[in-house]
């Protein structure tokens, strides 16, 4: 992710002809008729809030509508069809890959008013929620029933469950419990013709193709989610967390491998490197031992007796791998303290540089040591500072490239470094993204992993969901995302449309 202020966004200067203005006016009036005038945003200065998410790209929407029910979403989609405009769904806009950035002057449908927890079925351990429910609010609401919702992205205080489903979000505790797709049973969706339908079900098996599974992680390109059936988990009886400091990254990485080889699946297994530690010291004052090159946060949960035994084994492995200090939290407040630096690490990078770009590659766990070394070399070669704070258990690295976004040369170097890191991940047998998605940020790297045939097969799936009739534009929802520009099907997918410019890419390439 890059947080920079792009003042030169062409869209902002864009003025519409009077004919277009008339069309927009009429569209806005129709939308207002459905959702109420207060729930339509169309003045340029108000639209600026919706031109970006947590990524580099920016682009102004045509208008923004905030429906209050699935029926209203459906009506808005039907209205958009009359005006031939594409739609971008938006949750909290915390996405880090440009997913909610409205390219092609789309109409943004913002789901934040759909924030009801409709049903909590304690006995069957499931809940039906609207997509605008903020992730943490669900777990908060069911805590006193002894339940929680497992996927916990670090952004969980802000991001919505609808956004999580669209990105197939992960989080620190997804190592043992699985990612969003493992916890969503079904969804109510609105298709391109405005039809409201259910995919998946309250039961875990259903007949026909797994439409639910195919929809999850489709980054808003298939339709709009208006209700979600999620699985709930029982809060574990015991949780124990340790923090172990090491004098080398290799020692920390070996510890990760050995913990897993010992047949344990910790609830979380997170790592921070020296640069991250240095960024956190002045902010959270964790007082990590001098000379720490890496810190591991390992959490074990489950039945009390097992937790006690496993945490002892983990501590022994840490010691055998030359850990210089081990801290253990056995109560909630100590635990919160240990997690504080990990959860706040990304913000703390501000003590080193004003801007960060968070890469999201995944590598096989056994290749962590060599990949982290290569990341370091890339930093040295391109003269950029790179911090590392990541989900070590599942090999999901998050190198944070730290730079000054006001300096164009630094921005260029950051983007180059990000690209080179992704290449290293793919070469090691890994993936472009572990949880943030492709969006616009990584679309041009898709060919590192997929060939034209793979991409064509994926486009067919999009067409199957979107083309409720032959004339519907396949790019109706979230245009110009995921697929690399310049692919064979550009004609069909209109990727050469002059309107298409991920602004960041064009400005800074």
């Amino acid at each position: 992710m890059i947080i920079i202020s792009l003042n030169s966004d062409k869209n902002k200067e864009k003025t519409y002809s009077w004919l277009v203005m008339l069309k927009i006016k009429s569209l806005v009036e129709e939308l207002a008729h459905v959702v109420g005038a207060d729930n339509v945003v169309w003045e340029k200065e108000d639209l600026i809030v919706y031109e970006y998410d947590g990524s580099i790209d920016r682009s102004l929407p045509l208008a923004v509508v905030l429906p209050g029910s699935a029926a209203e979403v459906s009506k808005c989609v039907k209205i958009s069809n009359k005006y031939n405009c594409s739609i971008v769904a938006r949750g909290a806009g915390t996405g880090l890959s440009g997913g909610a950035v409205p390219l092609k002057q789309s109409l943004v449908i913002c789901l934040t008013r759909l924030k009801r927890i409709i049903e909590v079925d304690e006995k069957n351990r499931l809940s039906v929620v609207e997509p605008g429910v903020v992730n943490i609010k669900l777990s908060d609401a069911i805590k006193d029933k002894g339940l929680f919702y497992a996927p916990d992205p670090s952004s969980q205080k802000a991001c919505t469950i609808g956004g999580n489903v669209s990105e197939n979000a992960g989080g620190p505790h997804c190592f043992s419990l699985g990612v969003t797709t493992n916890h969503v049973l079904g969804m109510e969706i609105v298709l391109s013709n405005g039809e409201i339908t259910w995919i998946g079900a309250k039961s875990r098996s259903y007949t026909g193709y797994d439409l639910r599974g195919a929809f999850i992680g489709s980054e808003g390109t298939f339709g709009i989610i208006t209700k979600i059936i999620v699985r709930l988990m029982k809060i574990p009886e015991s949780v124990s967390t340790i923090l172990a400091a090491f004098k080398s990254m290799d020692d920390a990485s070996n510890t990760v491998s050995e913990v897993i080889s010992a047949g344990m699946i910790p609830a979380a297994l997170e790592m921070m490197d020296r640069i991250t530690i240095e960024a956190c010291e002045p902010v959270y004052n964790p007082k990590y031992p001098k000379g720490s090159e890496a810190v591991l946060l390992i959490e074990i949960d489950g039945i009390t007796e097992s937790v006690k035994e496993e945490i002892d084994i983990v501590k022994k492995i840490c010691t055998q791998n030359n850990s210089i200090e081990i801290r253990q939290a056995n109560n909630e407040s100590d635990r919160v303290k240990l997690w504080e630096t990990r959860k706040g690490a990304i913000g703390a990078y501000g003590t080193i540089a004003p801007t960060y770009y968070l890469v999201d590659g995944v590598v096989p766990r056994t290749k962590l040591t060599e990949v982290l070394r290569e990341v370091k070399n890339i930093g040295r070669k391109l003269e950029v500072t790179i911090g590392n704070v990541f989900h070590a258990g599942d090999g999901n690295i998050h190198p944070a490239i730290l730079f000054d976004g006001r300096k164009k040369t630094e921005v260029n170097q950051a983007i180059r470094a990000g690209g080179e890191i992704l290449e290293v991940c793919v070469k090691a047998g890994g993936a472009l993204s572990g949880e943030h998605g492709i969006g616009t940020e990584k679309q041009d790297y898709m060919r590192l992993v997929f060939n034209e045939e793979d991409l064509r097969a994926m486009k067919k799936l999009r067409a199957a969901f979107v083309q409720t009739d032959k004339n519907v534009d396949v790019e109706k929802f979230n245009p110009y995302k995921i697929f690399p520009r310049g692919s064979n099907d550009d004609e069909i997918y209109k990727l050469n449309d002059p309107e298409f410019y991920p602004t960041g890419g064009e400005e800074w390439a």
């Binding site: 875990r204 259903y206 026909g208 047998g429 572990g434 067919k460 067409a463």
Partner: protein, 414 residues
């Protein structure tokens, strides 16, 4: 192109619903298979890919079935990365072979399919085989991280990846899991693995009435732990005694604790002494648990709370027709497998009609897994919900416009 065998006896072995193929192909390389698919597509020739043939009976009657494709001779491979806890296996690998390979490193596939000495990886994935211990582990869908497939034009496409976590492009492989080979041929699958637990023990107990069992298993479901497996069954179709089989696994101390709590609960309810088994006895017990086979088998999927009411309802329908039944339900996962015995077609149709009339699509799903071929003219064995039909049809049209893959057999007779 490989040579087809057309000896009559051989053809009969590959008959589906009484329809024999014209030819059996045994491609020995991906290239041969690819050319075969391209040829079938160009000629509009329908084909059925065969794994271990243990679930080939599931599906509607085939349309346009000319070529049986036996995948046995294709290159077999298992790429296991113990340190990453992942494995990539070609579709013709036998599930049991794979399990044995993983066991060397104290790892396992987190799901378990029956008949694993015949069942192939491809067939199990394509038919989303319901394993027994899914209560806490989830199903095949939860553990596949990537896949390679052959398309109707013989091209190889991939989706997902080889690492435990990846979100890159669409999860196309989700369509092939439980797609019964209707969109392409699965070349290989990448799985996330689990360590084999230090200790596994099973507790088996019996009940005379559904009300007691229903309240007890809801209490167990609400413990801080969920047993790895929770199965409710009647021992045989001739018995009404209800049997609850629980499998506990984890660290030794953890299993002891789970056992203690469950036994306490049973004691409080004055149940007869439950039977506890461990080690090999237990493997044998779980392997033979589902053995009673019938000619009419259905699967109902529902929520945990609905399991007992559903079994009771089906039982009342079967009783009213004097038909015996055996049920086996994976409690937390919500699957109920029901076998009916001595059931003529007329009774079968009315039983299934009655069950189907009570199916609420958001709560339950019904599939006929095995039946007399004549019944397949009467029902779409998958009972697909109308609202999903258009998008499923569009998916089939995109990937198999000429209807060569398992034509007519999938949900909605696609």
């Amino acid at each position: 192109m490989c040579n087809g065998t057309n000896i009559n006896n051989e053809l009969l072995k590959f008959a589906v619903d009484g329809i024999t193929p014209k030819v059996i192909e045994h491609p020995s390389s991906i290239r041969e298979l690819s050319e075969l698919l391209l040829h079938c597509n160009q000629e509009n020739t329908g084909m059925i890919p065969f794994g271990g043939k243990t679930r080939i009976h599931i599906g509607n009657t085939p349309l346009n079935y000319s070529v049986a494709v036996n995948l046995e001779k294709l290159p077999k491979y298992i790429n296991h990365e113990p340190g990453d806890m992942t494995v990539v296996a070609s579709s013709n690998v036998i599930v049991r072979e794979l399990s044995e390979q993983l066991k060397i490193y104290d790892q396992k596939l987190p799901f378990e399919v029956e008949q694993s000495s015949y069942a192939t990886i491809g067939g199990s994935v394509a038919s989303d085989a319901e394993g027994r211990p899914q209560s806490s582990n989830g199903g095949i869908r939860d553990w596949i991280i990537g896949m390679e497939n052959l398309t109707n034009t013989g091209q190889i496409t991939k989706s997902g990846g080889r690492v435990v976590k990846n979100v890159q492009g669409y999860d196309l492989h989700k369509l092939h899991i439980g797609g019964f080979g209707s969109l392409g041929v699965i070349k290989d699958c990448a799985f996330k693995l689990q360590p084999i637990a230090e200790q596994t023990e099973s507790i088996i107990t019996t009940f005379d009435d559904f009300d007691t069992v229903s309240s007890l298993y809801m209490q167990i479901f609400n413990f801080h732990f969920v047993p790895e497996s929770m199965v409710l069954s009647n021992k045989t179709s001739d018995e009404n005694t209800i049997r609850l089989s629980l499998r506990l696994c984890g660290r030794k101390v953890g299993v002891e604790r789970q056992k203690k709590e469950i036994l306490n609960l049973f004691g409080e309810n004055h149940l007869i002494e439950p039977h506890i088994i461990s080690n090999d006895d237990q493997i044998n017990y779980w392997d033979t648990l589902p053995t009673q086979k019938s000619e009419l088998k259905i699967k109902i999927s529902t929520t945990p709370l609905n399991i007992v009411p559903t079994i009771k309802f089906v039982k009342s329908v079967a009783d009213s027709k004097s038909v015996k039944m055996r049920y086996l339900s994976d409690f937390a996962f919500g699957n109920i497998m029901i076998d009916f015995f001595d059931c003529n077609n007329e009774s079968a149709i009315s039983i299934i009609d009655e069950i189907n009339s009570q199916i609420n699509n958001l709560l339950q799903a019904l599939v006929i897994q095995k039946c007399d071929t004549t019944l397949k003219n009467h029902f779409d064995v998958f009972f697909l919900e109308d609202s999903n039909k258009p998008v499923m049809l569009r998916i089939k049209n995109q990937y198999d416009p000429n209807r060569i893959f398992n034509a007519g057999r999938f949900a909605g007779r696609l």
